[in-house]
Structure formats: C-alpha cells, structure tokens
C-alpha cells in the first residue's frame, strides 16, 4: 500500500492483477512440487529395496521440505510484513524440536 | 585482605550451619555415612560455598547502596546513567566462571554415581547371579517395601539388611504407583517407576554407621497416597560376616517349625484361616510371581525394627495394627480384608508373628 494516495487506480489495478496472477503461477508450481514429494515419499515406503534406516530420515526430510513450501508459499511467509509470523512459527518449531527429540531419546522404556 | 574476609565469611556460614544442627545421624543428609552420600555432601558444600560468596557480594553492594543513596530531603535529580559495559562484562563473566567451577564436579559425579556395570555383569553370570557384588531388587508398593536378594533366593520386607564397606547394587521398581527410595545418610534417592527398573549403587561406611547405631531410616520420597508420609523402612548396616550368617539363616528358615507354644500354633492356624497367608508369605523363599506377593513377607517379622515401618515393635502395637491398620496407615491395602479378629485370635496371631524370627 505504498502508493495509496498518488496512484492511478486503473493502471495500478492492472499491475496488481498481473502480479497476483504471477504469484498464483508460483503457487501452482509449488503445489506440483508438493504432490511430487508426497508421491516420492509414498513410493519410498512401498518400495522394498531400500534400507529401513534410510527410509525414515528420507521421508521426514521430504515432509520438512513440503512444510516449508506450505508455510512460505501457501501461507505467504515469504512476503514482507511476516517477521512476526516467522518469529512465532520458528519458536514453535524450536520447542517442537526439543520436545520430539526428548521423547525419542530419554523416554525409552 | 579481601580474600581473608571471604574466607572468614565462609567459615562463619559453615559454622552457623553446624550450630543450627545437622539433624540426627540416622536420617540427616548432613551427616553422611557412605561413599555416595559423601560425594553428594561435598558437592552440596562446594555449591553452598559458591552461593555464600554470591549472596555475600550482593548483600555487601546492597547494604552499601541503601546506606549511601537514600534520599535526604533535597530535590536533586541524580545523573541518569545508561549503563556500563565494563561492569556488565564483569558480572557476566564472574558468574560463568563460578558456574564452571561447579559444573565440572557435577558432571563427573553424575556419571560416577550412575555406573552400574558391575551389577549387569554379576547378573549376566548365572553362577554369581547377584552375589558378588551384592544385588538387591527393591519393589515399592503402597505403603511397604520388598527387598529381594536374587543371588540367594531370599525375600524380605520393610527392613533392609546391607553389608558395610562394599558397593551394593540396586534394581528398583514400583508395583502400583510411583514411589522413591531414599536413605538420606547413605545416599540420594532414586525413583521407583511403574514402567521400568532403575539402577544405582550405595556403600555404607562401617565406622560412621556405628554412630547411627547401625540403623538408618529409609523414606519414600514421592507422593504416593494418603500414607506417603508413613512409608518408612529401616536399613540395618552389618559387617560382611554378619550379613553372610544372616542370609544363611534366611535361606534355611523353615516357617513350619517356628511356632512352638500352643498359642503360637493356634495363631499359625488363624493366619491360614483368616487368609493372611494369601497375601503374606512367611518363608523368605517365596516362589510366587511378584504380582502375587501383595503384602510384606513376614518371615523374619519378629526381628524387625518397627511394625508396618512406623510403630515401635512390641506386642501392643502388633495387636493395634491388626485390630485397625487404617488408624495407623490410612489407605493401606490390608484394611478390611480379613474381618474382625477376636481378642483370643489377636493374642494367638501376635504370639505366632513374634515367633517368626531368624535370630532367635
């Protein structure tokens, strides 16, 4: 909303529409990638040739990448004005990491 | 000069600590009587010393500031100081150094006290089976303790008999809710969980055990129900020879032969008729699975220090306990399981129970 007062509405509108459309294209691409990653994950699990110890970290990695796509593209965390959201989501992820790590290491019996 | 002042302060505070009393030798952590407790005690003293320094520094600045900078009528506006990097660095770095001094022995000690490899080896070896080093399985239940010596096939309750001057290893768990096993003068506590077995070791020093008259108090240190406060046990510290002789007597104990007098024999019968035997074993070699062992093993009951862990051991109290256990340990699981006992039955049971001894 930088040019709130000084803009020519018509031109501006056309420009904005174009920008939005372009962004939408990015969204579709990231969606395609997400679907792709999902399929890869499912195939990995269904496929017997791979060592189980490799499978788990691999599919978890895929999930993380996918979630980054969701957060940064679908949820626009890549946009300006998202410093707050980034801070809180990453803090949440930090606590998540600690919790999950603890439960997988020191709760074992 | 300054150093001297600090040392004096330290000395003074340790003195006050001593003067204000260290408690009783059979229960106080401040009168350690074993290697583990010693190690912990020295950590406690080290940290106390560091903390006394910290508190002293803060207090000195504090008192100086309060004396010097009180408002004295005037409407003067003090200089609005923003801060000082030099000072801030000082009071960041010095605490870090103090903490390092504390952290190093803490980490070392944490690993040392958790070292239970000898026990694992002993248990893995069939011949040894937990004799050398001695292994004790501890099982905590609402509100009593069972101690099993797996190397000897002996089970006892409430009173834990331990040889002095050697490391004893423990396997601990709980059968109903979480409890915690603690003998303050001998070493810090460890929880008995419902999900797993915990392990640690203790070592009693014979000389200092004597000062506690060879009896230590054990406590349950985790809230477990109404009678949590009363879930005490006793530790008898004996020499290795005495221990050997005791464990042999336990192994050879024949419950069938102990009742000698008529009354005791009658009591033995009541013990069966009233179903006491369904819960309480009277033989140290109890082969039932632990789920079936729902009450203290009474094999050497007459040798115990206390009745039910808390009451002084005498005929009167045995009767009281049998008459109304709820009165002495609210919420215990024996209450209401055997109907009313007549005065005669009580006497008989008491006589029988008093005959259950390996020492006599």
């Amino acid at each position: 909303m930088v040019s709130e007062n000084s803009r020519n509405p018509k031109v501006d509108l056309a420009f904005r529409r174009k920008k939005n459309a372009e962004e939408m294209k990015h969204q579709v691409v990231s969606f395609a990638l997400m679907i792709f990653l999902t399929i890869v994950a499912f195939i990995t699990v269904g496929y017997d040739g791979i060592d189980e110890w490799l499978k788990v970290p691999f599919i978890v990695l895929l999930a993380c990448i996918q979630v980054i796509f969701q957060l940064y593209y679908f949820m626009h965390m890549n946009h300006k004005g998202h410093e707050g959201p980034q801070f809180f989501i990453w803090s949440g992820i930090f606590v998540t990491f600690l919790t999950v790590l603890a439960f997988m290491t020191i709760v074992w019996w | 000069m300054k150093k001297l002042k600090w040392r004096l302060l330290l000395l003074l505070s340790v003195m006050t600590l001593v003067l204000s009393g260290c408690g009783e030798p059979f229960i106080s952590t401040l009168i350690p009587a074993g290697e583990v407790a010693d190690e912990q005690f020295s950590l406690m003293m080290l940290s106390t010393a560091i903390m006394v320094i910290v508190v002293a520094v803060v207090t000195i600045i504090f008192i100086y500031v309060l004396m010097k900078f009180r408002r004295k009528g005037s409407d003067k506006i003090p200089v609005q100081v923003e801060g000082s990097h030099k000072l801030e660095i000082i009071w960041t770095v010095i605490p870090i150094l103090l903490l390092i001094v504390l952290a190093v022995p803490v980490v070392a000690s944490t690993f040392n006290l958790a070292d239970t490899d000898p026990m694992k080896k002993a248990l893995a070896d069939d011949k040894n089976g937990g004799k050398d080093p001695l292994v004790v399985n501890v099982r905590a239940s609402l509100y009593w303790w069972e101690f099993e010596y797996p190397g000897y096939g002996v089970i006892t309750s409430q009173d834990l008999v331990l040889p002095t001057d050697e490391k004893v290893y423990f396997n601990l768990k709980a059968s109903d809710v979480k409890h915690s096993f603690w003998i303050p003068p001998v070493g810090g506590k460890i929880d008995t969980n419902t999900d797993n077995e915990n392990q640690f070791w203790l070592k009693i020093d014979s000389k200092r055990a004597k000062e506690a008259e060879n009896i230590f108090y054990g406590k349950c240190a985790e809230l477990c129900g109404p009678s949590h406060a009363l879930m005490d046990f006793k530790v008898k510290a004996v020499s290795r020879d005495e221990f050997n002789s005791w464990i042999n007597k336990m192994k050879n104990f024949k419950a069938e032969t102990v009742a000698q007098t008529a009354s005791a024999k009658q009591g033995e019968q009541v013990f069966k008729d009233k179903g006491c035997i369904g819960c309480h074993a009277v033989s140290p070699a109890d082969n039932r699975p632990e789920q079936a062992r729902t009450a203290p093993n009474l094999a050497n009951f007459a040798d115990r220090e206390r009745v039910a862990g808390i009451l002084e051991h005498n005929e009167e109290n045995i009767k009281n306990w049998l008459k109304d256990p709820e009165k002495y340990k609210p919420g215990n699981t024996m209450t209401g399981t055997y109907g009313k006992l007549t005065e005669e039955e009580l006497q008989a049971l008491t006589d029988y129970l008093q005959s259950l001894s390996v020492e006599k």
Binding site: I106 | G21, M44, A174, P226
Partner: protein, 622 residues
C-alpha cells in the same frame, strides 16, 4: 468502583462488569478474583502449617492434608499468582505503550471468564466429594490411582482456566506488537511491558503442552485411555516430561513480570533511569529462551540416565547468568540514585536479597547428584517459596501499592502498607529459611505428618509461626484496602511524583479511552523526558478526533459458562446417565455462542470529538 456503584446502582454495576471489555475493568476483575484465590490458597497453607506445627498432629487427616497441599499449590500458581500479574498487565501495559485498548478486547474478557470459571470449578471440588490430592503436578500414576472425582476437578478446571490464560497471553502479544504509540519502538518499551511480552510468549508455548498433558490424563481417567497404564503399553514418564515442559517455563511466566514490576519501581523511587536497559531486555529474552531447555531438572531422580542429567544440570545453571545480570543492574540503578523508601520500594528492596537466596538454592538444586539428596524434600519447598514468595508475591504486593492509585484513583495508606511489609517480610523468612535445614536433615515434602525423634520438631514449629505472621500481614493489607476505599483521598495523574512511563501521564483512574490523543514517544521513559524538559504532558501524535471503542458483550461470560457446564457432564458421564447430555448442552452453549459472535457484526462505537472536548480530565494534555 464505589463511585461507579453510587452512580449506577448495584445490579447495573454488576452487569457492567459482567459485560465489560475495557482492559481497566478487566484488570479490576482479575485483581478481585486473583486476590480471592490468594486468600483461599493462603488459608490452605495456614491449615497445612498448623497440621505440621507439631509431630504426629491430627488437626487434619492424611487425605485432607494431601487435598490441602494440592489445592494450595494449584490455586496459588494458576489462580492467584498468574491472574494477579494479569491484573497489572491489563491495567498498565496498554497505558505504558500508549494504546487505547488491548488488541482483542472481546478475547480479553473471554480470557478472564474462562480463568474464573475454571477456578470456581476447581474449588467446587471441596463441596462435591473431595478435592484433588495428587499434588499440583498430578503425576500420572498417583493421579490415576486417586479415588473419587478430585483429580477430575483438577483436570477439567485447569483445562478451562488454562485456555483462558492462553487466550490472554496471545492478546498481550498482539497488543504489544501492534498497538504501540508512534515512537514507542521495542527498545523504548518499559521493562514491565517487555517482561509481559516475553512471559506471554512463554504462555503461548508452554500452555499447549499442559493442555495436552491433562487431556491425556483425562482420557485415561474418564474415557478408558491407556497413555499411562504400563499394563497396556503406557508410560508414566511421558506425563512427567509433558508436565515439566510446561511447568518450568511456568515459573518464569510468574517471575518475569515480577522482574518487570521491580524494574519499574526501582527507577521511579531511585529517580534514576534503569541501569543497563539493553542488557535487561536481553537477559529477559534469554531467560525465556533458556527456560524451555531445562525442564528435566525436575526429573533428575526419575532415572533418565547420566547423559540427560548432566546436560540438563549444566543447562539449568546457565540461567543464573542472565538473572545475575538483572540483579546487578537493579543494584546499580540504585547506586548513585536518590532512594525514597515508599511501600512499593520497600518490597523492591526486600526482594533483592530474598530472591537471590532463592535463586542460588535453585542453582544448588541444579547440581544433579546433590539434587538426589534435595529432591522432594523441604529444601525444594524452601527454594521455590523463596523465589515465588520473595520474588512473585513481593512483586504482586509491591505492584498493588504502586499502581493502586492508577487503578482506583486513591493512594493506599502508607503506614499500614509499611506494617504489612514488615510483618510479611519477617514472617516469610521465618517460615521458609528454616525449611532449607529441615530438608537437609531428611524431611521429605508432601508429608501430612512426621514422627517425633527425627529432629524436625523445632524447625516446623518456627515455620508455622512465620506463616501466621504472613497471615496477619495479609489481614492488615485487606484492612488497608477497606480503609482506603472508604476514606482515601483522590490523587492526580502522577501521585508518586517521580513517574517515568506513560501510565503516569493519564488521569487516575484513566478515562475509558485512555488517551484523548495518542502520545508521541521520544525515548525511553517518555514522561520523564517531557518532565525534564519542563513540559506538563506529552506531545500528541495525532489531532483530536473521534475515538473508536469496542462494544461490551455478555457473550464471553456465556461461552465460559458453557464449558463450565460441559465439564460437569464430562466428569460424571460414567456415573450418571445425565452426564453425556449435560456435556452436550454445555458444548452447544459454548459453540453456539461462538457462532453468534462470528455472525453478528460488531463494529463498536465512537466517542465523538465534541464529547472528548467536554471531558477535560483525560488523556494527554497537549
């Protein structure tokens, strides 16, 4: 309040408070409710202390003692300390940042009513078959083994009030992010606002684990779940972790705002700006951050193994460093200042050595092998009362005296205030200092009695005497409140004369819109800056114009009642056939009301410029 009552009559006033979304009135609600629960929790403490005054006492039974102990801890932490701090946050933070209101006035009210009904629900347990008795930690195996509905009251009551706390936390976060006046940058925010901000962040990340933990407990107790049933693969250690992942940050949720309060009071009465403001902010954030990485220090004896114990021991100790930074900054704020010993300042001054004592015993507890000796003894009880009472309660009492004039327009009586302080201070040290030694001498905590002959007798008696002194001190405070509201004198905007932050720039109590014109902030301690430049008020950042205000609403109250009803249904659904329908009705009330809220447009209303001009006592004098 009393003036309001006269103006409006009793029932309209009640209605006004039931429906209010004004942060200043919600603050008063928090103060009253939190104060009430503090007295309840304190009475529970006194009853415990009476029972423990002599060995083998039978003043209360074993079961009752466990109930008192559990309810004391739970009430004090969740229903007294947190809400009392919320009271000051609500009253002061919007003013300090130059805002007209919080970000979500409606949610603010909802947060209060959820907390309140959760607390009422929990306390009803006393009359409905017995209170919870598994400790404030409600460790799974004891909690599942506890007969009756006591623990269910705990689970459901905390669930409701915890939701309220979470909502309030989010509200403060957004308020501080979005509603600051022009020029009020993050690094110009008063420390109380900063600590509120960080504490709210901790609430945001710590309360969800609590929600989950007690939900799992609820499944196990009420719906046949097996999370904590080892026979079917459950694991009780999970609960311990979840509880402390919440529980440790919770203690910093309490103490950080307390630090904030003292960081306001000390500069005011030393007439000197806060020493090392930047490092204070940094330390606050660091404490909050580290607070999430140390929880297992409550579980050293659980048997996590030496690696975990060593890591958590060292991590815990590091918290001493930022806290130390704070302590020394306070000392050096006073250094070179001009200290005036008002009642709030007395608490601030008393706080420093008391809290440091509690803090250093915390570091001692962090030495894992030594903690095998301290854990679950009175040494721990002594530690946390030193930090909680010496830190948090002192702060709450200090803030009560400090901000009372701002909240109610009248100054609490200083003489009575000082009497309260002296009694409380002496009582406090008498009660808890000796407990260190009781613990070291082998006295476990959570015991309803102790046998004589173990050396615990004298210490416990002294402790009880101290508690009685604290009780008397609280009674004097209550008298002070009554006396003040009957005949206290009205005060102006800056009753302490040395006010530094924005709350002292508006009338006491402030008008409903706080600032007639949003102020322009030109630095740290904005009011002080203007005063030093000889100005009377602040520079406005905007021309006088209509002010937008939110509408009052009864819906938060109804939403909360719905959950209150549903909780009864859930609790009794195994016992009575009406359980399930009642639960459903409760949820319908709650969700139906939420639905109403979402479909009814609520645009608020405006106070017009002309009316503002007429009303000349408020806002920034430009």
């Amino acid at each position: 309040m009393s003036t309001l009552a006269r103006k409006k009559g009793f029932w309209p006033t009640v209605w006004d408070y039931l429906t209010t979304v004004d942060h200043k009135k919600i603050a008063i609600l928090y103060l009253i409710a939190g104060g009430l629960f503090f007295v309840i929790g304190g009475i529970e403490a006194l009853l415990m202390r009476i029972q423990l005054a002599i060995p083998e006492n039978d003043f209360v039974s074993a079961g009752t003692f466990n109930e008192l102990m559990t309810m004391h801890g739970t009430t004090m932490i969740f229903l007294a300390a947190t809400p009392l701090l919320f009271a000051y946050m609500n009253a002061v933070v919007p003013l300090q940042i130059g805002a007209r209101d919080v970000a979500f006035p409606f949610l603010n009210s909802l947060g209060f009513w959820l907390f309140f009904f959760g607390g009422v629900f929990l306390n009803l347990s006393w009359f409905l078959g017995g209170a919870p008795d598994a400790g404030w930690t409600a460790y799974a195996s004891v909690a599942l083994n506890s007969p009756g509905h006591g623990v269910d009251f705990y689970i459901l009551g905390l669930q409701i009030s915890g939701l309220g706390t979470l909502i309030s936390g989010i509200n403060f976060l957004v308020t501080i992010i979005n509603m600051r006046a022009p020029g009020m940058t993050y690094m110009r925010m008063p420390l109380f606002t900063w600590t509120t901000f960080v504490a709210s962040g901790l609430i945001l990340f710590a309360f969800p684990p609590l929600t989950v933990g007690i939900a799992l407990l609820m499944f196990d107790r009420l719906f046949g779940g097996n999370f904590f049933n080892p026979a079917l693969g459950g694991n009780t250690i999970i609960y311990e972790h979840i509880f402390w992942i919440f529980g440790h940050p919770e203690v910093y949720i309490l103490v950080l705002p307390a630090f904030g309060i003292f960081s306001e009071i000390i500069p005011t009465f030393a007439r000197k700006r806060l020493f090392g403001y930047t490092s204070m902010v940094f330390a606050t954030v660091l404490i909050g951050f580290l607070g999430f990485m140390v929880w297992a220090h409550h579980m050293f004896t659980t048997g996590l193994g030496p690696i975990a114990n060593a890591i958590f021991a060292v991590a815990t100790m590091t918290i001493g460093v930022p806290t130390g930074i704070k302590v020394f900054n306070w000392l050096f704020t006073m250094w070179g200042g001009s200290i005036r010993f008002t009642t709030p300042m007395l608490y601030a001054v008393g706080f420093i050595p008391s809290f440091v004592m509690g803090g250093v015993t915390g570091v001692m507890l962090a030495a894992a092998p030594a903690d095998y000796q301290y854990h679950d003894t009175y040494f721990v009880v002594a530690h946390f009362h030193y930090v909680i009472v010496g830190g948090v309660v002192f702060a709450i009492l200090a803030a009560a005296h400090y901000w009372w004039p701002k909240m109610f327009g009248k100054m609490l009586n200083e003489t009575l205030g000082k009497i309260t302080f002296v009694l409380f201070f002496i009582g406090f040290h008498l009660t808890f200092f000796i407990q260190h030694f009781l613990g070291l001498m082998g006295m476990p905590r959570r015991v309803f009695t102790f046998l004589s002959g173990q050396g615990f007798d004298t210490g416990n008696l002294i402790s009880t005497i101290g508690a009685v002194l604290m009780g008397i001190a609280v009674v004097v405070l209550l008298i002070n409140v009554v006396v003040t509201s009957v005949k206290g004198e009205k005060v102006g905007a800056d009753p302490w004369e040395d006010g530094r932050s924005l709350e002292w720039a508006v009338a006491s109590p402030p008008p409903e819109y706080n600032f007639k014109q949003t102020p322009l902030v030109r630095g740290l301690d904005p009011l002080w800056i203007e005063k030093m430049e000889g100005k009377k008020g602040l520079t406005p950042a905007e021309p006088l114009s209509d002010i937008h205000m939110p509408n009052s609403s009864i819906l938060p109250f109804i939403i909360s009642i719905g959950l209150f009803i549903a909780a009864f249904g859930l609790m009794y659904h195994n016992d009575y056939s009406w359980g399930v329908p009642v639960a459903i009705i409760g949820f319908i009330i709650t969700f139906g009301t939420m639905f109403l809220r979402s479909i009814i447009d609520d645009h608020g209303y405006h106070i017009h410029k002309e009316d503002l001009l007429k009303d000349d006592n408020g806002g920034v004098q430009a």
